[in-house]
Symmetry: D2
Subunit: 392 residues, 4 copies
């Protein structure tokens, strides 16, 4: 049985897995995927179709020290080429704009290559459902990258909710605040210009980009499904055709009310993803900009600042994600490494035909990817209908 990793990050198989990239050669998204893969010590990055421009793809492959034979001019060539090699990639990371996810993922699935897809899964529910169907019918591996759930303290938060430390959940709040959309779009900032083009982002920009993270984290920590929602979209930054701000009221399982609020037009906010959960017996608060501490307020008792770190009473699931001792801060690269480690464990299990312990991993299923797309579209439905309640 594949058991996972220890304090030292050591490959779960007797070799590192082989990873290829589609897109990501420039811009931040590819950087994060690559940093996570490298720091995890589970992966060698060996192939890529890093750009839709063949010249850029070649330059980038060189910059990444890829073998020129494995620097491809298109994702289709790459899928075919890698599938044909004995030492072909064990997975592909797809880091391209949302509207291209479906075709690329479908192509790699057709070649039997496991898929690591940046979120959101697709722009439309139809495409998302087709990917789920194909993945399930062919037993293909496909996951989405929601890295914030891979912080040790987010895992600890989930455990404490499951453990009943908060009692019955009564109210939730998640906000994700940034400020880059205050300025007019800058075509020179890779990975951002397309976010203002409706054809590329689909019916939503901010909700699709960061709202999906907030939605995923809320479900991940509380375990509660959102049943209905009501959304208003706004442009609070530079004029644009897509929303940069959204207010979403939630009705969750058991009638628990909540708020989900995202903006990319709040000067002084950079990546302010903060979740607060309150139950009958206490509250929890976690902020990804200060990810080392989980603040637990047991009702009528002093607030406890639970710090990441080994041997300090964290739950087993959280301890597995801890690699530096308390006070030696881990941050976003470490979370990405945890994400890429859990993906490696799952794929290694598949390669070696061994089972993974149940409930061991937190890597999203294809269905969870599609659920994120449903969330985005439900927000757009509600907004377009004037802010009415819609069922999710």
């Amino acid at each position: 049985m594949i058991e996972g990793y220890k304090s030292h990050r050591e490959p779960v198989l007797d070799r590192r897995l082989r990873l290829g990239f589609v897109g990501g050669g420039r811009g931040l998204v590819g950087h994060w995927h690559a940093a996570g893969a490298r720091l995890s010590n589970q992966w060698d990055i060996v192939a890529g179709a890093m750009s839709s421009d063949p010249e850029v793809a070649k330059t980038t492959g060189r910059a990444w020290s890829l073998d020129p034979d494995r620097t491809y001019g298109s994702y289709a060539e790459m899928a075919a080429g890698e599938a044909a090699r004995a030492d072909g990639i064990d997975a592909v990371a797809i880091c391209t704009p949302n509207d291209t996810h479906f075709d690329i993922a479908k192509t790699f699935m057709q070649h039997g290559i496991p898929i690591i897809l940046d979120k959101p899964m697709t722009n439309t529910i139809e495409d998302a459902d087709k990917l789920v169907e194909q993945a399930r019918s062919g037993d293909h591996f496909l996951t989405l990258t929601y890295p914030f759930a891979f912080h040790a303290m987010a895992r600890q938060a989930r455990h404490m909710v499951q453990n009943g430390d908060l009692g019955r959940i009564r109210q939730v709040n998640v906000e994700y605040l940034q400020d880059w959309a205050v300025d007019p779009p800058d075509p020179d900032i890779q990975g951002r210009a397309w976010r203002n083009i409706p054809e590329r982002v689909g019916r939503s920009s901010a909700v699709a980009d960061i709202g999906t993270h907030a939605y995923h984290l809320l479900k991940f920590i509380t375990g509660l499904e959102t049943k209905e929602l009501r959304a208003d979209f706004h442009v609070c930054g530079a004029p644009k055709e897509v929303e940069d701000t959204a207010y979403v009221n939630l009705r969750m399982e058991g009638g628990v009310p909540g708020l989900l609020w995202v903006t990319q037009a709040a000067p002084g906010q950079y990546c302010g993803l903060r979740i607060r959960v309150w139950g009958e017996a206490g509250g929890l608060s976690w902020d990804q900009e200060a990810p080392e501490a989980l603040i637990h307020a047991p009702l009528h008792e002093p607030e406890r600042h639970i710090l990441r770190g080994q041997g300090t009473g964290l739950c087993t699931e959280a301890e597995r994600l801890v690699h530096l001792p308390r006070g030696h801060p881990e941050a976003l690269s470490d979370a990405w490494a945890n994400l890429y480690s859990e993906i490696a464990i799952a794929i290694a299990a598949k390669i070696s035909g061994q089972p993974v312990p149940p409930d061991f991993l937190a890597i999203p299923t294809p269905e969870m990817g599609a659920q994120g797309v449903r969330f985005v579209n439900a927000c757009a439905d509600s907004h377009e209908a004037g802010g009415v309640w819609v069922t999710l």
Copy 2:
């Protein structure tokens, strides 16, 4: 011309003003009013009808060192008695449950005694409008106690918005989080039991109690009127007939969107009133639990933590409210003292027939009190209609 006070808190007239209390003998509200009056050094507390129970009223009067002759068994006696004295009170502080405000205020107005009324003004819009009408037609002094606007840094925030430091406002957020309603109502905690009785609180409990503070502060700092709102009420704490939680979406002047959120059922939150305002050129954040710092994020520049304190570049309006140097923390008692000082300045001006500098004071007008009542009722209207947009 009455010019106000200096670093040392010195009476604006050659004597301290005389203050009487209706209610407030037990419980927190009276404590705050009294603390503010005493610390301001503008007032002597000389008379009271501190309870609707004559025995309690007498005991309390003794405990407050009042002259037994000026410890009254009812507010009506007190209004009449004080109006008849040459050294009668210069103002009355009314610290009773909401549903009694109208009759008490009307009675003191009839005797020509200036009125300091705890918020909200009344339960119904009709009563509020009548009080405004009576105050205006008789040129009576009537104000409401919204103390948070009397922190130096809230004043500084208002100045910075007016000064254009944030550019055009694009989005606002105010939250006010407490946790006392998690527990079942405790009849032994004075000043709380009535908050769960619909007949006493009117159509709303949490919005009327703390939502009005949030609404007032938002208007105070941003200067923006709320044009429309949409509210959902919830019970997230112990079962009760009135809401302890409300989510309110705002459409403000100029189409600025905003959120106002209050709850009294969030374990670990005690008096978490926090306001965040973002404009084209920067953001501001202020938290009443850490009132010494105003956080200013000019777009693309480092965050500035502006601390209360003299001679440090605060605006004149804020400097007037500063009595201790930076690092020697002022807090809620100091804000109440500032409130009672500004009230004293206004009443002293009236007594001495002198003008007060225009825009000098921040004490709410009767109309602002009535506007708070309109806000509460609009929230209730929206909620009762299923969360529709209503005009304020």
Copy 3:
């Protein structure tokens, strides 16, 4: 038996006590004493010799709304005048420069008037010892104003140490950082110019001014006596003849090492008094600039942020000092009010011939005042001898 006060600040006798001031008419020190006395609701300020300049004394008396008959041109007149009145003051607050304390205190003692003396007690050990001897031999009331010990959370810290929550104390650290001495002395800032004049401050400026606070708080919370110390004085701000910075190594009872560090020349530090205490079983940290929280780190457990507030598990001694609920911040004025309340309790007991519960009060004894003077002089001794260890 005098039992002290409740949530509401109510006079312990059936009248407020009568307080007079020597000095303090301008500048900060008098402001604090007056604010504490007023907010405590235990005192009426009725007499004063507020300045050594008779004209200023008169103006200030008027500004404070004092009866002109009780506005004195000198402290000697005041002592005689008040002693002769049936309604004479119950205590005098002495808020003058250090070098004048001895003569003024002696004079008021000769007239049998209880004394509230700003720290440090005197400049010289000889004078301090004489005051102690006179106070004790005549059973005169004399105390010193160290307000930081009157924060509820400092009281809670003391309780937790006494209660063994930290186990045996192993190391202590106290720092007090300000920045006003970076600038050249400004003769216009009352209460500061004399602090740079050796004749007035004695052998030390910074240690006498803020080091005594740090020393007192350290002893107050830990209960440990300092046995030996080693001090270096420095000028880190504008050139001056007295130190603005001192590093003091401590050897406390039981061989516990410690550091005490004060500076008035650290830009960006305003009143940064912070104490940290570590024992075998945990640590405590408290910062007077954020006085509402006491941070307790039990060994190997999450840090607990214990917040001031009633009904939350604070010790009885701390609860007595709490007047606003959690989240409604109390700060320095509230601590001064607690100080003036405890002084009132002690004097009221003396007036009424009733006992005060043992260990009830934290108001410094005359001996503790003299000990502060010994500390200042020991630091100067060590420094002048080149930083050698000296016995305290």
Copy 4:
């Protein structure tokens, strides 16, 4: 000319460099070196003598996915073996206890292999001087790993001091607080047991372990040499033969006073390295547990919280170290990656015969390593002589 790296971490040569490890197979130190090397994307870890126990060395090599041919039973074999290969390692990371550094480093230098040595360089000044002499006479590359200087905000702090933003420096303070030495030594915690054995750690444990970091960072940021010091060693945690706590007074260049304080026996402190620097025109504060913010207090102006992040006015040297945008936190792994990147740039320049821009890198010279050893021994000298001032 070798120019360094960009936002994306790309190898500076057309291949990654080859790294070998001596020690580090278990315990934290090796983990950090390996994490930094991997995340930097400049290195492949290809060889190792990971333990002095050959069986452990073999197991660890397998766990690290090393080629069995390059998993050596001793460092001497490794040095000889790698030197003989055409694809031999480009550098060796030495992660063994202090007392072994000298022999291992000398051996690798004899084989011409560049050396990355964990601090402190050696236990004795003699050994350190010999290593410096050998490195300089043979033009060998040798550096020490002080990772905290490789945080972008530590680099920004150095720049601001150099740029005169603080004016003339007047006072410095650095503290490094941990708590692991409260408990009795646990032989099962790798990398710690030897720290309590005098023969292995030399004359100092805490100063050698964390004091050297504090000393290096102080020199790095302020540029000031320590001229004289005075140290007291204490045991504040579990009984042991070496100090776990030290207080060090500093006299720096130009008469600037300072304090350096380290302890490993402060419950609730985990890796609390904090530096504060004050000059005539302002102060700076940086805390490695919250490494994203540099707090700048310009005299008489609001405190500025300068956050790491691109395009936000950081100096060029700091921007080079930034790989994630503001709000997407970087932490210790990222600093280690920066360290391993700068080492790679230097070694790549040597390999390719190209110059590195002057003042480009912050990797310590051999002389700086020896200076750290001098600091440790001067502290021991002072302590052993009763806490006298000694020249450094």
